[in-house]
Amino acid sequence: MDNILQSLAAIVGEQYVSNRQEELYLYARDQGTMDPHPPDYVVLPGTVEEVREIVLLAGREGIPLVPMGGGLVLSGLTIPLRGGIVLDMKRMNKIIEVNPVSRYAVVEAGVAQGQLQSYLERHHPRLRHSIPDAPPMATVGGNVAIHGSGHLSQAYGFHSDMVNGLEVVLPSGEICHTGSCSASPYWFARSPLPDLTGLFLGWFGTTGIITKVALKLYPKKKMKDVLMFVTENPDYVPDVIYRVTETEMAEDVLVLSAPKPDWMAGFQITSVALTADSQLEMDFKRKMMRQALAGYIDDREGGFMFLAPNLKKNFLETPQRSVARYADVNKGGGFEYVGAIMPVEKFPQAYRSGVEIAGKCGTTYSFIVRIIGRAHCMMFAFAYPFNRADKEDVQRAQKALHETNAAVLDMGGIPWKAEVPAQRMIIEKMDPSARQLIGRVKAMLDPRGIMNPGNWEV
């Protein structure tokens, strides 16, 4: 056994560390188009103390350290670009506390979305968290670390906006608390302190290892329905969104479009989730939504789709499994998307540009757009499924992704959870002072550059 492996085994126990080829093979890749690169070791810590010791070891030895949750980010952010140790957080999966009155949960970073969802359903049926449409094994830590979004994002913003505070192991090995929990036994808010939490959100693990997350919870309504409004002119969509969000009655709002199935081809389908505690409330909300869009119906430019119960069932799910099913439409398990965060008014341009790029690159596509925070912005996912076993298919998707990233930046949008080449494109566009500040923050927290190296390098 080599020294590092031995040291890691001494920290976590032999069964939770590996450098076996078959395991390194798996940890070398994700479902996206980024080239694989194997780690030297994989380790699964069980406690914050173990994380601390691993960080200290990596620091001493100058070995890269790549934190990983579900490994579902798709854009290569957990691929150890320079080898080293992959720190798989899945064993840190304790739900530590739920405060039902102040409506927050404190969980270890490796808690899976599905785990938290079912825990709340069982023990706190009146509470819920905002769930992304990722497969349920995606972790809370990994999702907030990339500014994820989900079923309550239209109402309350990005998932990173729903973080009240963190426990983090800094690259120096210090264990640090951010938010109210740094000065109080309660994890109720990030205010009114200087906001240190932001130092770890959106940094892709380059500034520290998140070990605990305090996540806001929200009231859980008893009933859910979904309305699907169909248009065939992308120019209408920003106004449709404006009207829908203006009612303040919609929960999740998505816009979907894809060449398949036929009922989607050439249409923009705005899906509006409604929730209520009584039939009266639901009927009222439906009515308000219909009223908001009546102008389009009267002009014959848009209308509500009839959703047979078996189809509607898919759209009522949380998370929506159909997203994962679609992700493998080409078979072969390849899926990646440019999730562009951009102003809602850019929808028509983004839509046309996506169709054009897919046509040019010969890929299939689907657009899934999630409205964030009352239309303050949107996450426009240009998704390109591909067959990983087919090199040409991978290259087509790669090309489409690259061109989409460039187009998005041209339009004034910013690729979300950007893969390294896209990070470079963003950095190039960035205000030089902001760029330098990122460099200084990273150098201060991680002077040896061991944390997920290759990412956010300025």
């Binding site: 199935p261 009922w263 249409f267 509500f304 009839f306």
Partner: protein, 335 residues
């Protein structure tokens, strides 16, 4: 393909029932006569804009004319959109033929399930022994486009559907969906299209099979409200078959305001038209009427009505049942 419509029949009509009896537009005899005249002259009329496309005027006309098909043709000619354009286009795309149907001899009695694949598993048990249940976009009846002023789509697709079925040497075709039956028994003759096989209505098929298994039929002793679908308006002559069928299995079709000629639409099409308030109103009236009638179940002939109203009916305490399921219950089968 021209509609066989004789305006001289209307000229002699004393009642103008096609418009006077309409449940969604209100005309006295005089205004009905004037609107009928406009329609027969091929002129614009509020009828073309306000029609709920419930098909009922086809049934109200006892003189054998085709007032509803005429409305649909005129709507299309004049570019009137009963539903928002994207909804119409979506419907047209959604059920377009795929071109992947390979003609074959059916091993058993061919039963066309229209386009309700989700019901496939329900056509089992003794009633469906020895049948070949099939569905395909290439064999879809397409009559739904009557609701969307798109007779042109029906005209374009239906000859191919008939050809494909004929290529399978079909002699008798059991239509699970009333609307498919209406295509062959009403629409095709109205447009002078020959059908080289005999369409068999589900009621007739079920009666025959129940009679074959009569010793095992247990009278259900159920009071049921019937949700009569729009397509029945196109072939009302088979209505007595339903009464015969229900009697056979001991189900009382409770008398109620919104049954038979006064039936109300399930509302799904009106919602697609964007007429939500009207749909809410008729759903409420219809369901309240079912509850008042003392029925404990609601029976459906049309799968689309079943999908639309099933949950609503259940929420009112009535058991929603497809007519085929009801017959299976009478044979003691589990659903």
């Amino acid at each position: 393909m021209e509609l066989q419509f004789d305006t001289s029949i209307c000229a002699d009509c004393a009642t103008v029932d096609c418009l006077v009896k309409c449940q969604y537009m209100h005309f006295d005899l005089e205004s009905a006569r004037s609107e009928r005249q406009k329609l027969n002259n091929g002129e614009d009329s509020p009828v073309l804009h306000n029609c709920a496309t419930c098909y009922a005027c086809e049934e109200y006309c006892k003189l054998g004319n085709h007032p509803f098909y005429q409305i649909v043709d005129l709507q299309e000619q004049k570019g009137i959109w009963p539903a928002p354009r994207p909804i119409v286009h979506q419907q047209v795309k959604m059920f377009s033929p795929k071109g992947d149907f390979v003609p074959r001899e059916f091993a058993g009695v061919p039963v066309n399930l229209c386009l309700f694949p989700e019901l496939q598993g329900r056509l089992t048990g003794r009633l469906f022994e020895g049948t070949s249940v099939f569905f395909s976009r290439d064999l879809f009846c397409n009559l739904v486009y009557l609701h969307f002023a798109k007779n042109s789509v029906i005209k374009e697709r239906v000859p191919g559907v008939i050809q494909r079925l004929a290529a399978c040497n079909v002699e008798e075709l059991v239509c699970f969906h009333d609307e498919c039956y209406a295509l062959y028994a009403s629409w095709a003759p109205a447009y002078g299209l020959e059908v080289p096989f005999r369409p068999v209505h589900l009621f007739k098929y079920l009666i025959d099979r129940l009679k074959e298994n009569y010793s095992q039929v247990k009278k259900l002793g159920l009071k049921a409200a019937y949700q009569r679908p729009c397509s029945t308006r196109l072939t009302p002559a088979k209505e007595p078959l339903l009464d015969e069928l229900l009697e056979l299995i001991g189900v009382e079709r409770v008398p109620r305001e919104y049954d038979r000629e006064n039936a109300l639409c399930c509302g799904a099409i009106l919602r697609m038209h964007g007429r939500e308030e009207l749909a809410d109103d008729i759903n409420k009236r219809n369901l309240d009427d079912m509850v008042r009638s003392g029925a404990t179940a609601c029976i459906f002939n049309c799968p689309f009505c079943y999908l639309t109203l099933g949950e609503m009916v259940a929420a009112k305490g009535l058991r929603p049942l497809l007519i085929s399921d009801l017959c299976r219950l009478a044979l003691g089968e589990k659903l």
